[in-house]
């Protein structure tokens, strides 16, 4: 997984509460065979005029011009600014897959749904919880100024505004460690390779029939 240390990026505002995972990625896309490629269908129902299917050619579909991610000023955003209880509903891992594939590395909100919150970390997305009033202030700033960027510094646990003003944030130490080092569960387990190999060596003696390549 990519390391997330410090980044400065354009911010896109998703100004509604209780955005659920069905809205993030509708259910017809779950038959897909991929973990990537969900980006064009992120927020599909809000983003397009028609109903998307897994085999639709998204480049030809009519866009809802008023939807935030369709506005030219937010193209290239990597930080999503959201309202409370973001990511509620079904546990589908396809939701963080879609956000990541679209290009978001950071989601800032006053609160997140539990499962979605955990799924973000598994997929290299930083979900940051900030005070409601601070999030509100950020929304106003984003609306007021085209090209509004934020710097997110995981090392020092700070968000830095264009003015230089800093907003500290909390993050679980273990999660922070994983993100800083680009570690996912697999990466962590592979950190114990020597234990796995030692187990295999012992097991090969006890139960050789389990090793058909013996």
């Amino acid at each position: 997984m990519d390391k997330i240390v410090k980044m400065t990026a354009l911010v896109a505002p998703m100004d509604r509460a209780n955005v659920d995972t069905d809205a993030i990625i509708p259910k017809q896309f779950l038959k897909s065979i991929k973990r990537t490629g969900f980006g064009p269908n992120l927020f599909d129902e809000w983003r397009y005029e028609d109903v998307g299917q897994p085999d639709s050619d998204n480049s030809n579909r009519p866009l809802r011009k008023d939807f935030v991610l369709n506005q030219s000023r937010y193209q290239g955003a990597k930080v999503l600014l959201a309202r409370e209880n973001f990511g509620c509903g079904s546990s589908r891992e396809h939701a963080p897959w879609a956000l990541k594939d679209y290009g978001f590395d950071v989601v800032i909100a006053p609160s997140f749904a539990d499962i979605f919150f955990n799924n973000c970390f598994k997929n290299g997305i930083m979900p940051l919880v900030l005070d409601e009033a601070i999030v509100d202030g950020l929304f106003q700033a984003v609306f007021a100024q085209e090209g509004y960027v934020l710097t997110v510094d995981l090392e020092s646990q700070k968000i830095i505004k264009p003015s230089g003003e800093e907003i500290p944030f909390e993050i679980d130490a273990f999660r922070r460690h994983c993100l800083l080092n680009g570690l996912d569960d697999i990466g962590l387990t592979l950190g114990h390779q020597s234990d796995i190999k030692a187990y295999e060596a012992k097991r090969r003696q006890e139960a050789p029939w389990l090793f058909s390549d013996a």
Partner: protein, 475 residues
């Protein structure tokens, strides 16, 4: 050394490391892969530039999306393009990573949980995983088998390990002797009816007692298959002579010296006499009757001679509400006799009941009989190509066809209706599968879970009946 349960022994033998908070890495001996939950796992490996830790532990076969009708076109016979791509992708991934696949057209292809034991690919003492909740099935041969999610499939591919916390131990003890016409399916449905669908939450269930000692391995596979419907991710039966006999000579089973060593090790795969269980449930096997589920959860199950519950007689408002909702969905009135419920569709198949003994048992009921005119479709879907071949060698296919069944090709089929086999809305189905959730067999479809014998008898009568009235003496 203190006394251990079978689960304790299997756990200890696979423990790679354990953190202070109990989070452990356990080693996985076998991963079974199917087309629905594996594509993103392979994609993840590719994106991270990782290789499978041990290729030889993986075995793949498509089952969920496979059509059960004409297969002569191979993968091209799958009409739904999205389904077809899932099946094709499994094949491409297997080839790319060098994993053995029993593809469509291979006689060994079938439902993963039928194929694993049949091939000897799941053995006593192994840890087995699959991205499928019915992986508990494999515990019937004394293997520790877990259903896992897609991220975990990738994790096992990449590391050969699973991150787990140890579960609690639960013993379900069924003593006595089953009545004639009462099957392993009835036993497990009766257990779920007693302990509920959350009864086994957080536990590994061991099935013990005379009933399971007397039961064939295929019967034990049926029982362990539905451990998940009792809330447990793991179901287990101790290894005995029957297990050894079942495993011997299968393609993936050990041979020669390895076989002798393995058998010695496997004979210890039972709970110690004074082992501690956190929870014990006891049932008297001799009083279990043939079971029929009436509602939309496997715990909504009754004896065949029972009547559907009446919410007005339920004092707990939440329960009464649940009963009412289930009755509404199932289109049933309170106090309806089970035997008055029609069976417009019949499905004999799924990883619960699609092995050779299941078809033999159903054929015994169907022999010389015809399905009722009111039955719109009766499907017999073997669990694997080899089961189908064996059944045909015994002439069972003819009995089914003459009775009016369609004799199909192997796959999950109408168990979850991901292929073209769907139960229409409003129709009642006597089904040997494991889940009667709303829409499970098709949107609006009404599932009644039964044994293969009971499904066959319902097909003949056109409504649910007591199979014991259809079994002639002898046996």
């Amino acid at each position: 050394m203190s006394a251990k349960t079978l689960y304790d022994k299997l756990w200890d033998a696979h423990l790679v490391r354990e953190e202070e908070d109990g989070t452990a890495l356990i080693y996985i001996d076998r991963q079974l892969l199917h087309e629905v939950t594996s594509p993103q796992a392979f994609e993840g490996l590719r994106m991270a530039g990782r290789k499978p830790w041990r290729i030889d532990t993986n075995l793949a076969t498509p089952d969920h999306n496979v059509p059960t009708t004409d297969l002569t076109g191979g993968i091209a016979s799958i009409k739904d393009p999205v389904s077809r791509i899932q099946v094709e992708t499994l094949g491409m991934n297997a080839r790319e990573f060098g994993i053995t696949e029993f593809a469509m057209g291979d006689i060994r292809q079938g439902i993963v949980h039928v194929v694993g034991p049949e091939e000897g690919a799941t053995l006593p003492g192994m840890t087995v995983v699959c991205g499928d909740s019915h992986t508990a099935t494999h515990g019937a041969v004394g293997a520790l088998a877990h259903g896992i999610g897609t991220s975990e499939v990738e994790h096992v591919l990449a590391t050969q390990c699973l991150i787990q916390k140890k579960m609690k131990n639960m013993l379900i003890c069924v003593e006595g002797q089953l009545q004639k016409g009462v099957t392993p399916k009835d036993v497990v449905l009766a257990i779920i009816g007693k302990i509920g669908t959350a009864g086994g939450n957080g536990h590994a269930i061991e099935f013990g007692g005379q009933v399971f000692r007397d039961m064939s391995i295929e019967g034990r596979l049926t029982v362990c298959n539905m451990a998940i419907e009792a809330g447990a991710r793991v179901g287990l039966v101790a290894v005995d002579e029957k297990t050894i006999e079942y495993v011997q000579g299968r393609p993936y089973s050990p041979k020669g010296d390895d076989w002798d060593r393995a058998v010695t090790a496997w004979m210890d795969l039972k709970s110690d006499a004074d082992a501690h269980f956190d929870k014990v449930v006891e049932l008297d096997g001799s009083v279990i009757e043939p079971q029929v589920s009436w509602g939309t959860s496997p715990e909504m199950v009754l004896d065949v001679n029972g009547v559907v519950p009446d919410p007005a007689k339920e004092s707990d408002a939440v329960k009464a509400d649940g009963i009412q909702r289930a009755l509404d969905y199932m289109g049933l009135k309170p106090n309806t006799a089970i035997k008055d419920i029609p069976a417009e569709y019949v499905f004999i198949g799924s990883c619960t009941n699609s092995r050779i003994e299941d078809f033999r048992a159903a054929a015994q009921v169907l022999k010389g009989r015809k399905i009722a005119n009111s039955v719109e479709l009766a499907l017999a879907v073997p669990g694997s190509g080899l089961v189908k071949q064996q059944a045909e060698a015994e002439g069972l296919d003819k009995i089914f066809i003459e009775a009016g069944f369609e004799w199909r090709n192997p796959g999950c089929s109408m168990c979850l209706a991901m292929n073209a086999d769907k139960l229409p809305a409003g129709k009642h189905c006597a089904s040997t599968s494991n889940r009667n959730f709303e829409g499970r067999q098709g949107a609006g479809g009404r599932t009644h879970l039964v044994s293969p014998e009971m499904a066959a008898a319902a097909a003949v009568a056109g409504h649910f009946v007591d199979v014991r009235d259809y079994l002639q003496g002898g046996e």
